[in-house]
Amino acid sequence: MKSIHLFYRVVKKDALLVVCVLFLLAVLALAFVGIHFTGYTYDQISDASLLPPSHAHWFGTDANGHDLLTRILFGAQISLFVAAVGALVSLTVGVTYGMISGYAGGRIDSLMMRLVEIIYSLPTLVLVIVLVTSLDSPVANLLKSAGLTGVNPRLVLIVLFLGLTEWLTMARIIRGQVLVLKQQAFVQASLALGQSHVRILWRHLFPNLFGIIVVYLTLTIPAIMLDESFMSFLHVGLQPPLASWGTLVSDAAFLINPIRLYWWMLIFPGGLMTLTLLALNFLGDGLRDALDPRVRK
């Protein structure tokens, strides 16, 4: 009886959280698995240009006659991939930076945090746009010479630089936590025992940061997804034939006119993107309420 009660209480309190997780899993499943069952490929054109949803095309078609459902799922793959890998880049840099800064303390810490402050005040997305447009060709040549012709240079650049834009919050939070943990008894004891700093960082501090890392990872993913779609919207992001949700919404936005309402071109990709971001944000919020020790219960 008791355990069922407990489970019921958890589910009731966090019912929406469970829904979010299920939703995200569903999107992932559809994007990577379901896409093969739509009956179309993402680059398959047809004469059925700009048609509203129908039995043949559940989400309608775009100007080239692509099936929009397939395009949206393909876009999901790209958007989610960029967001996830970018967030991992962000995580790696942020956590390392934060841990070193917090652990070192003193002048190194204040210097490192000042750098964070400075970067915080820069128009980072603007700089990313410049970086991505300028480095496109050199990176393409680099990849060609390394034999990696299948890899899209834009994709690499976007993932890399967006990741490098969003690590600041993670670094700050981690550093704060490390500062607190540093004072704790078990760390002091390890130091007294003569354990190396790296070992302390890795074996003792890092596991305790796990919860907070998960939280901010969950919150970084939507931030990067938004940044990437922003850039794609302005046509400085991914180039065709790659498509992300940003490019799909961009196509739709520039089709708005008073005669024909191509509503499906905007509502479906835009709606799915919004719901995904909503789910991620909600999940992140919930996790933060549960796991972030700084948040008052």
Binding site: Q44, I45, L50, P240, P241, I256, N257, P258, I259
Partner: protein
């Protein structure tokens, strides 16, 4: 805790704070208004959607069509065009051409003045042309004056004495021009903005700032009243122009997205959409039946370039196969949709004296045969190649379609799309760093030469690595052939080499110009080959002076 009881007082406090902040912001906004941050719209007799913010209004250095339109409203050359597009006298009242076609004597209209009252004379033309040709001006269209004797030498900086160039001013109102070879379309060139005169004292006084409102001095039908970046340009009728200007004020909007342009037209905020790239192609099937939709063919061609130095396009059979297998009807019906005629030749129809040769039509069976002969039966073994295109406008949709069509007919799966931003694309095309390239060309004047002379061996705009000695020879001969019929025959044979025998390019379709306007509200707009509509010809029907 009983919060709700205090709600009224609280909301009043909130309102007060909001009021305070609003007041501050109104002051703030007012400050920016006077800084010019918020100029309220001004009324005009005609509002035109011109396609984008002009890069400059200096006629000597202008390269784009939209800038050209504005320049031709502000300035006028020796000749100009009427609403039908015919060449009529402009600054030159009359002219004579020598029998060998090499010397033109222009007699300027007496009493013409600049917009500041200064008299306009032949020296203005002489000095303006010198300025355009002078390498220091870095005019990208200066080659239009290379038709003049020694024009090219001066333009390249090889000659520094301008008096040796083929333009002389025997007196105030006479201009004598000597050409290197007879040029049938020279009078069209003199109506083009590059050959328009500029008021040199103003240029000297203000430097690059001279094109700004309040400083610019011009001789055309309109004056530049206001120029707000990315916002609007206001033109006012020039009282010094030699004939009356029907519309006192024209407002020009630099809206670049086609749907935005259309929205403005539909809501009545703009009266004329003058550029087909400002009309959303996906709406064209609906708009075609509207009375305000006007379509007319004009001298432009969309085509695909091969890089004939790269495999497999070094084999003419492969090139011919791809040309024969492209279902161009599909492209014009599905993608561009303006009723463009399919093109099997390069030179668009519109010149009465020219007959195009019979080009390569749509023949997929023949194509497959040729491809198999070349060693790629059913597309097997076809190497990986790139199709370069510019990602703007319909570029992506068209490239996607072309790729799919070749896959469908020839079984070629190894053509990859390579989209680039406009400037990068231009660069790549000029470096000939591609296998296939979606290209286009719009004629500067109504003569096949403007299309055919692109493809001379090593020509600056060839960009295919193709060359043919006989082709070059024929072009040279045609230039010194004064007889029209004979010359046209030579050009006809040249084009046959280009689009049937050698096929370094695959023509796709001929441009159809589209414009939106209500004919009961705008007169003086008529279709013509060069898509050149002079704004000085516009009038409101029922009010023609």
């Amino acid at each position: 805790m009983a919060f709700s009881g205090m709600a009224k007082r609280r909301s009043r406090r909130i309102l007060f704070t909001i009021g305070l902040i609003t007041g501050l912001l109104v002051l703030f906004a007012g400050f920016f208004y006077f800084c010019g941050g918020w100029a309220l719209s001004t009324p005009a007799d005609l509002t035109i959607c011109n396609g984008d913010e002009p890069q400059t209004l200096d006629p000597a250095i202008v390269t784009g069509q939209l800038e050209g339109r504005l320049c031709l409203a502000l300035f006028e050359g020796l000749t100009t065009r009427n609403a039908k597009g015919d060449i009529i006298p402009g600054m030159a009242e009359s002219w004579t051409i020598s029998p060998d076609g090499l010397t033109y004597t222009f007699h300027l209209r007496p009493g013409t003045k600049w917009s500041n009252g200064d008299p306009l004379n032949a020296y203005d033309f002489l000095n303006s042309w010198e300025r355009t040709l002078n390498p220091a001006t870095a005019s990208q269209y200066s080659y239009q004056l290379y038709y003049l004797v020694n024009g090219e030498a001066y333009g390249m900086g090889k000659l520094t004495d301008f008096s040796q160039v083929g333009v002389k001013t025997p007196d105030d109102h006479t201009l004598v021009v000597t050409l290197t070879h007879p040029t049938a379309y020279f009078l069209e060139l003199t109506s083009f903005q590059t050959l328009c005169p500029v008021h040199l004292p103003t240029v000297k006084k203000y430097g690059t700032d001279w094109t700004k409102p309040g400083k610019m001095v011009s001789n055309g039908p309109y004056l530049l009243k206001t120029w707000r970046l990315n916002d609007y340009i206001l033109l006012e009728a020039n009282p010094y122009y030699w004939r009356p200007v029907p519309l006192p004020r024209i407002k020009v909007l630099p809206t670049s997205t086609s749907t935005a342009c259309f929205n403005l037209f539909y809501s009545g905020k703009t009266d004329l959409i003058i550029d087909k790239s400002s009309i959303p192609p996906e709406l064209v099937p609906d708009l075609k039946n509207e009375p305000y939709f006007h379509a007319n063919p004009f001298g432009g061609t969309s085509f695909i370039r091969f890089n004939v130095k790269r495999k497999p396009f070094d084999d003419v059979r492969v090139r011919q196969a791809l040309a024969l297998a492209l279902d161009k009807k599909d492209i014009v019906e599905k993608i561009t949709r303006a009723g463009e005629p399919v093109a099997t030749t390069l030179v668009p129809p519109g010149n009465a004296s020219y007959t195009a040769p019979q080009g390569l039509g749509y023949n997929p069976d023949e194509a497959r045969k040729l491809l198999a002969e070349a060693g790629y039966p059913n597309g097997r073994g076809f190497p990986d190649v790139n199709l370069l295109y510019a990602g703007r406008g319909m570029g992506t949709q068209m490239a996607t379609e072309i790729q799919a069509l070749w896959r469908r007919e020839l079984g070629i799966n190894s053509i990859h799309l390579r989209g680039q931003e406009w400037k990068v694309y231009l660069n790549t095309q000029q470096l000939i760093d591609f296998d296939l390239c979606v290209s286009a060309w719009v004629g500067d004047y109504n003569d096949p030469q403007t299309f055919l002379d692109m493809f001379v061996t090593g020509g600056g705009n060839n960009d295919t690595n193709w060359g043919n000695a006989r082709y070059d020879e024929m072009l040279k001969t045609s230039e010194s052939t004064p007889d029209v019929a004979q010359r046209m025959q030579i050009l006809h044979d040249m084009e046959k080499i280009l689009v049937v025998d050698e096929v370094p390019i695959v023509p796709i379709y001929f441009y159809v110009g589209m414009s939106l306007y209500h004919s009961d509200k705008l007169g003086g707009y008529e279709p013509n080959f060069v898509d050149d509509h002079r704004w000085g010809e516009f009038y409101l029907p029922g009010k023609k002076p």
